[in-house]
Structure formats: structure tokens, C-alpha cells
């Protein structure tokens, strides 16, 4: 409902300011100190999970983030310890679990990082995230709406029973013929169960713009929807990331730093979540 609301407001705003114009300008925002950044997750599927470690840069750095190499990265679920290895030692800044790793519902995963050189005044960082369960995704469906946009849009529906008596947060990812379409954090959809708690829901979770080649569906396409159970902290984090950077005086409050879960003023999020899949063929 809130997303519908945001859509209405943005649309209204768009109508009102059809007279407005934008232009690129140069701004000097100075320099800031360097912070440590974690980006990665583990989930219930068996896979080699990648954790990317980087450093922050000045805002107009305009190059990939500086990598953090040669770190010692450990993962623990409270019972078992796992060591993560840098994919290209001393070069990639990407640390991976073994391909046989899978996360277990109910465990809390803690990632510990020992840095070769301290960043932001600290040589070690750690971060924890609980892996919460997710309801069973019964099925999915794609419905075409010719009235939305120039060439229409596909609405992706999810069918599942939200558990009563608990607060649930969901994330949705989407595959077309085995290729991940929601391939960056601002394309995934997150939702809470505020308005549907305990209901059987059959609502839309994503819209795909049929004008875009990377979103377009044709009959016969195999679609897969992934519903993930996530923590409130990760839900808030994704929402903040999706809203960040865009500032309309009407609707947005003062810009604020995104709250992650890394200690010692680190930036980013280490997430753990459970997945439930459903597939369908587009008709």
C-alpha cells in the first residue's frame, strides 16, 4: 500500500512539475575520511557465497571502490566456524565460502574480518545477522497490463500464506529463463506484512516494464520468483538504499546515512536469509 502511495505521489509530483527542468552542475563536496565497507549475504541454498570488502571514497571518486585485500574472513553460526578465501588472493577483495555451504534457519551468522591494514581506526570488524524462516511460496503468475506505460507492463503475483502472530519481512527476487533480473539492490522488492498479517496473499510483488529489453517477457518464458525471509534491519537497510540519493523537497526528509549492521562505524550489510521458490511459464 505504501508503495502504491509512493507511486501516486511521484506521479502527482511529475504532473505538477512538468514545467521543471534539470541540468548537470558541478559541486565541490570536499573530502571525507575512509570507512570500511561490507557487502554480501548467505542464504539457505547450497552455494559459494561471496562477501565483497571495499573502502569508501570521496563522493565524486568516479571509479570502482578501492578493494580490501588480504583480509582474514571467518564465518560462524555459533556451532561451526567457516573460513572464507579471497577468490584471487591479494587482488580481488572478494571472499567466498565453500560451494557446499548452506545457511540454516534459526542460526545467527557472524562474520569476522581481520584487516591487513586498519581502516577508519580499526583493524577488525564483525557483524551478525539472524537467518529467519520464510513462508512457503505456493505459486507465481505473470499478468499483462496493456494500460500501464507505452508498451504495457507485466505484473508478477505471489501466492503464499503469511504466518499470523508474528511480524514478517519479505524480499522478492526474479529470474527470467534462469537469468536474475533483479540483479542490483535497487531492483529487488522488499515488503513487510503490516497490512496483510496472517492473510493468504495473492498480490503483485513486482512490475516489469515491457518497453525494456532486460525486463520484457514473451509467452513461453520461464519465470521464477524467489521469496526470502529477511530481518527487520535488512528490510530497513534495503528501503533506505532504494530511497537514497533522490531528493524531492515535497517528500523526502533530510538525507541521512544508511544504517547497516557493521560495527565500528563500518558501512554496508551482511545479510542472512531463507528462500522459497516458485516458477511458472508465461502464457
Amino acid at each position: 500500500m505504501k508503495s502504491t502511495l509512493k507511486a501516486i505521489i511521484s506521479y502527482l509530483f511529475f504532473l505538477v512539475v512538468t514545467v521543471s527542468c534539470t541540468e548537470k552542475i558541478t559541486i565541490n563536496t570536499g573530502e571525507t575520511y575512509v570507512r570500511f565497507v561490507v557487502d554480501g549475504h548467505v542464504a539457505t541454498d547450497t552455494a559459494a557465497y561471496e562477501i565483497t570488502l571495499t573502502k569508501t571514497a570521496d563522493y565524486f571518486y568516479n571509479a570502482p571502490s578501492p578493494k580490501v585485500v588480504n583480509a582474514k574472513v571467518m564465518l560462524s553460526d555459533g556451532d561451526t566456524n567457516y573460513t572464507l578465501h579471497e577468490t584471487e588472493p591479494g587482488n580481488s577483495g572478494i571472499y567466498t565460502t565453500s560451494p557446499s555451504f548452506y545457511g540454516k534457519i534459526g542460526k545467527t551468522y557472524t562474520l569476522s574480518v581481520q584487516l591487513a591494514d586498519p581502516i577508519g581506526g580499526s583493524g577488525s570488524y564483525s557483524v551478525s545477522c539472524a537467518l529467519v524462516h520464510v513462508a512457503h511460496l505456493d505459486s507465481t503468475k505473470a499478468v499483462f497490463h496493456s494500460e500501464f506505460g507505452k508498451n504495457g507492463a507485466w505484473e508478477i503475483l505471489a501466492y503464499a500464506q503469511d504466518p499470523a502472530n508474528e511480524v514478517n519481512y519479505y524480499m522478492f527476487n526474479f529470474y527470467r529463463n534462469g537469468v536474475l533480473i533483479t540483479d542490483s539492490i535497487h531492483k529487488v522488492r522488499v515488503s513487510d506484512d503490516k497490512l496483510i498479517n496472517g492473510s493468504y496473499f495473492n498480490g503483485s510483488v513486482l512490475y516489469l516494464n515491457n518497453s525494456r529489453d532486460d525486463e520484457k517477457l514473451v509467452p513461453g518464458d520461464r519465470i521464477t520468483l524467489v521469496m526470502s525471509g529477511i530481518t527487520k534491519e535488512y528490510f530497513d537497510f534495503v528501503q533506505q538504499v532504494q530511497e537514497s540519493g533522490f531528493n524531492i523537497p515535497f517528500f523526502t526528509g533530510p538525507p541521512a546515512n544508511i544504517v547497516g549492521n557493521i560495527n565500528n562505524s563500518g558501512i554496508g550489510f551482511f545479510a542472512a536469509y531463507s528462500n522459497s521458490y516458485a516458477s511458472a511459464i508465461v502464457k
Binding site: 502504491t4 534539470t22 497490512l195 540519493g245 533530510p254
Partner: protein
């Protein structure tokens, strides 16, 4: 309720005492009283000066045009004056109480006319009142306007000490206060959201408005409930002499007003309507998606008044306005309604009373059409019912006592959302509302000490009681709700009270200059859940509660006032300092909408502001307007925001210049120009970045550590009137206006955009709303 009974009893006792006291005491003194009205239409003139030449003293009319002055037996010359009107001089022999109604005639802009101005127009110098600005609607109508749409709020934003919160917005900040610290009254009824179309237009239709007065400080004791200012707007009463029709056809809206007598000289009415049709242009757009959109607003003002007899006069007025947005996908509607019934009653010639019943409602609802799985409606509203009694006792030439009480019931419904239709999977979601009773009693006296010093001292007692039904959450020190209490209907679950002293002083140095000073304490029990700078129709008001203390402000101000050229040039310098406590702000990434635990998102702290305002106001025959310069600063300090360090408030724009001028070239041709300049709005910019999940994540500077580029803009307009023919009532005039003449690209917002092609590249992008915008409006009158 017991409190009200006590106050009422005291009030009645006082009136009987004063009435009884009248007779024996006044053997040697008598009262002159009456109304001052416009000769052409019978409208009461507010704030007209009444000057007694022989005694070098005087008074002025109240907001109904009534005056009363008590003098010893004798022969007097009474001079009535009002800007834009010919003076009226009356000689009287005073040996009994006299009823003297005065009809004043408007000056017409004739070039030959030479006025001998020996009169006393120097009210602004002698009156114990500062930090105020009064404008009649004619002045406002001459100011060049965006899309030619004359707007009271946009005119207010050009006054010294007033800042617009964002380009095109109807929000304004007075002396560093937040936009929700302004009490906006339309015929005494509070208007909770003064914006149409996201603020590009205000809800006030200038055809229905008589005049406007802004109190930036030195707020009289009869007003309360907001920290920073009172904007008191009076609707026209309607011509009680003859029928009149006024209208206008503009680029985006049209207006029509009809007024006239119901019973000549006794009762009259006015009805005024306005409707925009900007959305018709959407049909012309090349973007087909825009064709089926409706987006418009309309409003209706109506008022009737009836002078029952010499001692009783009643007024009934109302406003109704709605904004509507609709397409196949969603609908959204919002607006205000207000209603006021007022009864003026003269208990004696010296005691003027007004009793008011008022109603105000702001609501919005939005939703998606029925029949889908995600169909829903969402409603929110705030309703007020209030009664007030205000009494002025014109005791003698040295004392004018005012007192009164008011009681308002507020009903808050911050948000209720529910699915509609059998297919919808949404459940009801209700943010608990509450009720409150806000009451106040006040008394003040305007007292003259000799010929130089006048004091206006008063005290206001205010009380705010929270009343069930509600669910009240309790928070721990980390602002997390740990518990809640449920209160049944009409349980009084919390009470705040406060004393608000008000003091103003004027020391007249000589005929043309004076020094003034004031101290004002104000309390505010309601605030707006608004986190953005410009504001939206979705902003809702929420009350003080056990978790939210009332906000308190103390303001001191002093100034020097000097008039020149027979009072046609008024100048003043005022300096002020304002301390605000228990002001609210929201935590980072606050969620305001559909949040049952909104109070957990609040952070409470303090704010302060100071400044100096320089004003030169011209009331020459051909040239009028004002030039002002303001230096002002305003800061906030709130725990957990900006790591507890103080930061500039969003309205902190240190340097501000406004020039508003109108020059009447010939009888038919007038030109107007304005120029505004303001330091850029403070803003938080990203200074660092991380890349997460393919997206550049900004890392921000301290709160409001940067500024947008400075704002400046010039507007021009030319008004060309038809030739007046004797005996022909039909008149028209054409107004050409140009907004932003030199096409300045003033920053509305700056966004930081991640490049589509190279996601490692980011750049800053400025959005500006209005380039140069010409418009034309045709006004007619018959």
C-alpha cells in the same frame, strides 16, 4: 469544564460591574462610538485611525470596524484616516454619549489630485504594536504573480522576517520558526493546510479577502496556539449598498464573485468561487499516459452578515476547497473546510463583545479503484469545533482592556487504511487517533502613561487536555515502544497548562519617531508530522501527549520607527531574539506515514533564532510598496541528530532582500516589479560513497553543512485598465505579468545521480521549477 464555568461567571460579573459603573462615574465624561465603513460598499475598515485633535490622542477601529473613545465634555474635531481613503473630519459638541458612524471614501488614482496631508497617518509610530505587517487586498493584487494567480501567501513571503521554505511553496518560516508554527486564521477559523496543488497556490481566493495581517512577534494575548506567528485573514463582508460582480479569466484558473445587499445597509452577502483548469493542457501533451489524468482544485467562499440593530451584528462565513487528482490507476482528494459564526454585541457603548463558533476540517483520502486485489482507501482528517468570547472594554482614553476565553475540541484521525472490495487482500490498518480540548483565557490592557509611553500588557493562560479514545504507547530511552495503554472515550488522560505573558511598549520620541520593545511567550500544543521541506497534502497534525511536551517560545524584540514626508514613508529597524524549547524534529530515516508509533520517531530539542529587519514602506500617491533587508540566523540542537551538535535550521537564510514596488504611470496604466534575493537554503550533501549491491551509497556531511546557490528572481507586471465612462458600471483590466524575468535557474533541489552507462560515475543534477513564465489575466467588474 469547571474552569470554563468559573471564567464565564467572572466574565458576567465583570460586565455587570462595568455596565453598572458607567452611569454615576460618567457625569463629566461621555463616549463616542460607532463604526467606520467604506462608503461604496459598507465594508468595515479594520485598523482605521480615529484622532482627537484637541487632546492629541486617539484610538483605532477593531476587526469589525468598531471604535469607542471616552472623553470629557467639550468640543472636538475627530479625524478619521485610513490608507487609500480620504480623511474624514467631524466636529462634535460632546455633552452626551454619541453614536458616530463614519463612511469613508476611497481615493481614486487621479493625477491632478493634490492631497493636503496634514492628517495623522502615523499610527505605525505611536501604536504599541511592533513586528506586524498589514496589507489590504488591493496591495496584494498589484504584486506580479506566478501564472498571474494573485496569492496572499506568496505576498507574505516577501515581507521582512518571512522566508519561503521552497520555491513555489505555500509554506513559510517566520523569524526562524518552522512552517507549522504559524497560526493561519480565516475569519477566526484555523486553516490547517493552506496549500493547493502541492503549494503552488494557496487556498485563499483574493476576490473574497478583505485584508491580511501578519504578527511576527508581539502577538496579542487573544491569539495563541502557535510559536512563531499569526496570519489573520479577513473575508469581505459583501457590499450592502449595491450588487457587484467581479471576475477574472487567467491562464490556469477563472474566478467569479457576486456580492450585494440582502437588506440595503443592513444585510449583505458575498459568494466567490474559483476553479483551475490546468489539467486541460495535459490532453495536449505528446505523452499519451498523461491524457486521462484529472488534476484540479476549486474553492468556494461565502459570507453573509446582518446588522440586526445598533447593538447586534451577526456574520456567517465559510470556506470549502478541494484538490482532486484522478486517473484510471488511483485517486487522491484533499482539502479544507471552515465555518465561522460570529455575533458582535455591544453591552454598553464602551464594551464591545464578539462571540464566535467555529469549525475547521482538513482531510485527505486516496486509494485505488475497486475490484483489484490491491484496492484500498486511506483516510486522514483533523476536525475542530470551537467557541470563543472576546470582549474589549474601552475604559477611558488611557486604558483599553481586552479579555476573553476560548475552547476548541480537536479530533485527530492520522490515518486509516483498508482494502475495498471482496478481492482485496489488505486488512484494516488504523493509526490510533485521539481527541483534545484546547482552552485559553486571557486579559490584557493597553495603557497610556502621559503623551510618550504606552504599554500593552497581558497574560494568557492556556490548557491542553488529551481525551480518549486512544492507544497510547510508552517508550523507553531508546525510543522503542515497550508498552501501551488504552483509554476509553472521554477519558481525560493528560493535561498541560501554561502561562503566556505578553508585553509591548512604545515610547514616542516625537511626532515622527518612536522606540518600541516587546516580549512574547507562546506555547504550541499541535505540530505537523512533516519531514520534508516543502510539505505535502499528506502531512498531518498530531497533538502534545504524555510523550510530546508542548513547544515553548520566548521572543524579545526592539525597534526604532521613523516616518518621513508627512508619513508617506515609513521606516523601521527591528532586532529580535527567539528561544524555542521542546521543538520537534524527526530521527534519521523517520517513517511518518501509517506509523502507529510515530512518537518514537520524534526527537525533541531546542532552537534559537535572531535577526535584524530593515524596512522602508512607501505609501506615496503614485508609488507604493516596500524595500526590506533582513539578516537572520536560526539553529537547532537536538539529541541524536547531527551527533548532538547544533546545526542550521532548514530556513536559515542569513541575507534576504525584498523589493516590491508599484508605480501608477497614468490613470489607466500601472506597472509593478519585485525582486527577491535570499542566501541559498542549507542542505546536507554527500561527501563520501560506498558501492553496495551495484548501487552508489552516499555518506553524508554534517546536517545542513552546505548550501544551495543563492536565490534571486525578478517579476514584472503591467496593468492596463479600461477607460472609465460615467454611467457605465462595466469595467475591465488586463494584467500582463512575467515571473522570473531574467530566467534565473534557481535551485529547487539537487540530486546525485548514478550514471546509467558507467555505474562508477556519479554527478550532481539541479532541478529548477520555473524559467521565465509570462501570463495574462483579464479581470472584469460590473
Amino acid at each position: 469544564m469547571r474552569f470554563c464555568t468559573v471564567v464565564f461567571t467572572l466574565l458576567i460579573l465583570f460586565i455587570s460591574y462595568c455596565s453598572a459603573g458607567d452611569e454615576p462615574d460618567n457625569t463629566s465624561k461621555h463616549t463616542i462610538s460607532g463604526k467606520v465603513t467604506d462608503k461604496s460598499n459598507g465594508e468595515g475598515l479594520i485598523g482605521a485611525a480615529v484622532f482627537i485633535k484637541e487632546l492629541n490622542t486617539g484610538t483605532s477601529t477593531n476587526s469589525y470596524g468598531f471604535y469607542s473613545i471616552t472623553l470629557p465634555v467639550g468640543q472636538y474635531s475627530l479625524i478619521f484616516s485610513y490608507i487609500g481613503y480620504h480623511n474624514s473630519i467631524t466636529s462634535i459638541q460632546l455633552h452626551q454619549d454619541i453614536k458616530l458612524n463614519i463612511e469613508m471614501e476611497q481615493k481614486h488614482e487621479t493625477l491632478k489630485e493634490v492631497e493636503v496631508t496634514s492628517e495623522r497617518l502615523d499610527k505605525n509610530v505611536v501604536k504599541p504594536e511592533m513586528s506586524t505587517f498589514k496589507m489590504d487586498i488591493k496591495t496584494i493584487q498589484k504584486i506580479p504573480a506566478l501564472f498571474g494567480e494573485v496569492d496572499i501567501i506568496k505576498a507574505i513571503q516577501m515581507l521582512p522576517g518571512v522566508q519561503s521554505v521552497s520555491e513555489g511553496s505555500s509554506g513559510f518560516s517566520v523569524r526562524g520558526g518552522a512552517p507549522d508554527q504559524n497560526l493561519i486564521l480565516l475569519d477566526d477559523a484555523p486553516v490547517y493546510n493552506a496549500s493547493h496543488l502541492l503549494g503552488f497556490f494557496s487556498v485563499f481566493n483574493n476576490d473574497a479577502i478583505k485584508d491580511v495581517k501578519l504578527y511576527k512577534g508581539d502577538i496579542p494575548a487573544n491569539y495563541g496556539g502557535r510559536l512563531s506567528s499569526v496570519l489573520d485573514i479577513n473575508m469581505k463582508e459583501g457590499n450592502n449598498k449595491e450588487y457587484e460582480v467581479d471576475g477574472g479569466i487567467g491562464l490556469i484558473s477563472s474566478r467569479l464573485t457576486i456580492e450585494g445587499p440582502i437588506v440595503k445597509d443592513k444585510a449583505s452577502f458575498i459568494v466567490s468561487g474559483r476553479r483551475t483548469y490546468a489539467d486541460l493542457f495535459l490532453g495536449l501533451s505528446s505523452n499519451k499516459a498523461l491524457h486521462n489524468n484529472q488534476l484540479y482544485f476549486y474553492d468556494l467562499n461565502a459570507k453573509v452578515n446582518w446588522e440586526i440593530n445598533e447593538n447586534n451584528h451577526i456574520y456567517l462565513s465559510g470556506y470549502f476547497g478541494r484538490d482532486v487528482f484522478k486517473n484510471s490507476f488511483a485517486g487522491f482528494k484533499w482539502g479544507n473546510e471552515t465555518g465561522t459564526f460570529r455575533w458582535n454585541h455591544l453591552f454598553t457603548k464602551k464594551i464591545f463583545a464578539n462571540f464566535t463558533f467555529l469549525y475547521s476540517d482538513y482531510l485527505y483520502n486516496l486509494g485505488t479503484p475497486d475490484g483489484n486485489t490491491n484496492s484500498f482507501v486511506w483516510n486522514s482528517s483533523l476536525q475542530d469545533f470551537g467557541v470563543k468570547g472576546d470582549i474589549s472594554y474601552y475604559m477611558n482614553t488611557n486604558n483599553t482592556i481586552r479579555f476573553g476565553i476560548s475552547i476548541t475540541q480537536h479530533a485527530f484521525n492520522p490515518g486509516k487504511a483498508n482494502g475495498i472490495g471482496s478481492q482485496s487482500y489488505f486488512q484494516d490498518y488504523v493509526v490510533p487517533g485521539t481527541q483534545a480540548i484546547e482552552s485559553a483565557a486571557y486579559a490584557s490592557n493597553e495603557e497610556k502613561f502621559g503623551n510618550h509611553l504606552t504599554l500593552n500588557y497581558g497574560l494568557r493562560f492556556s490548557m491542553f487536555q488529551s481525551v480518549g479514545p486512544t492507544t497510547l504507547y510508552h517508550y523507553n530511552s531508546n525510543y522503542i515502544a515497550i508498552d501501551s495503554s488504552i483509554y476509553k472515550s472521554w477519558t481525560f488522560y493528560n493535561t498541560y497548562t501554561g502561562l503566556e505573558p505578553r508585553l509591548g511598549a512604545v515610547y514616542v520620541l516625537n511626532e515622527l519617531s518612536s522606540i518600541k520593545a516587546s516580549y512574547t511567550r507562546t506555547l504550541q500544543y499541535l505540530q505537523l508530522a512533516q519531514n520534508s521541506t516543502a510539505g505535502t497534502p499528506l502531512d498531518f497534525w498530531f497533538p502534545a501527549s504524555p510523550n510530546v511536551k508542548p513547544q515553548v517560545a520566548d521572543q524579545v524584540a526592539t525597534g526604532y520607527f521613523r516616518n518621513f514626508r508627512k508619513n508617506t514613508i515609513e521606516t523601521s529597524v527591528e532586532v529580535y531574539y527567539k528561544w524555542m524549547n521542546d521543538v520537534i524534529d524527526f530521527k534519521d530515516n523517520a517513517q511518518l506515514l501509517l506509523n502507529k508509533q510515530l512518537e518514537g520517531e520524534l526527537r525533541i530539542g531546542k532552537a534559537w533564532s535572531y535577526g535584524a529587519e530593515f524596512l522602508l514602506r512607501l505609501n506615496e500617491r503614485k508609488l507604493n510598496g516596500w524595500v526590506s533587508y533582513t539578516y537572520s540566523r536560526t539553529f537547532r540542537q537536538i539529541p541524536t541528530i547531527n551527533n548532538g551538535a547544533y546545526y542550521p535550521a532548514p530556513y536559515d537564510k542569513p541575507n534576504n532582500i525584498s523589493i516590491v514596488l508599484n508605480y501608477q504611470l497614468t490613470k489607466r496604466l500601472g506597472i509593478s516589479a519585485n525582486w527577491v534575493y535570499a542566501t541559498g537554503t542549507p542542505v546536507t550533501f554527500p561527501t563520501g560513497r560506498a558501492i553496495i549491491g551495484g548501487k552508489v551509497i552516499p555518506i553524508y556531511s554534517d546536517r545542513n553543512a552546505y548550501r544551495y546557490p543563492d536565490y534571486h528572481r525578478m517579476d514584472l507586471s503591467v496593468d492596463y485598465a479600461c477607460k472609465e465612462k460615467p454611467g457605465n458600471k462595466f469595467k475591465w483590466d488586463l494584467n500582463f505579468s512575467v515571473y522570473n524575468v531574467y530566467d534565473r535557474h534557481n535551485t529547487w533541489t539537487i540530486n546525485f545521480v548514478q550514471d546509467n552507462i558507467d555505474p562508477n560515475v556519479t554527478y550532481a543534477e539541479r532541478t529548477y521549477l520555473f524559467g521565465i513564465i509570462p501570463s495574462v489575466t483579464l479581470n472584469f467588474h460590473f
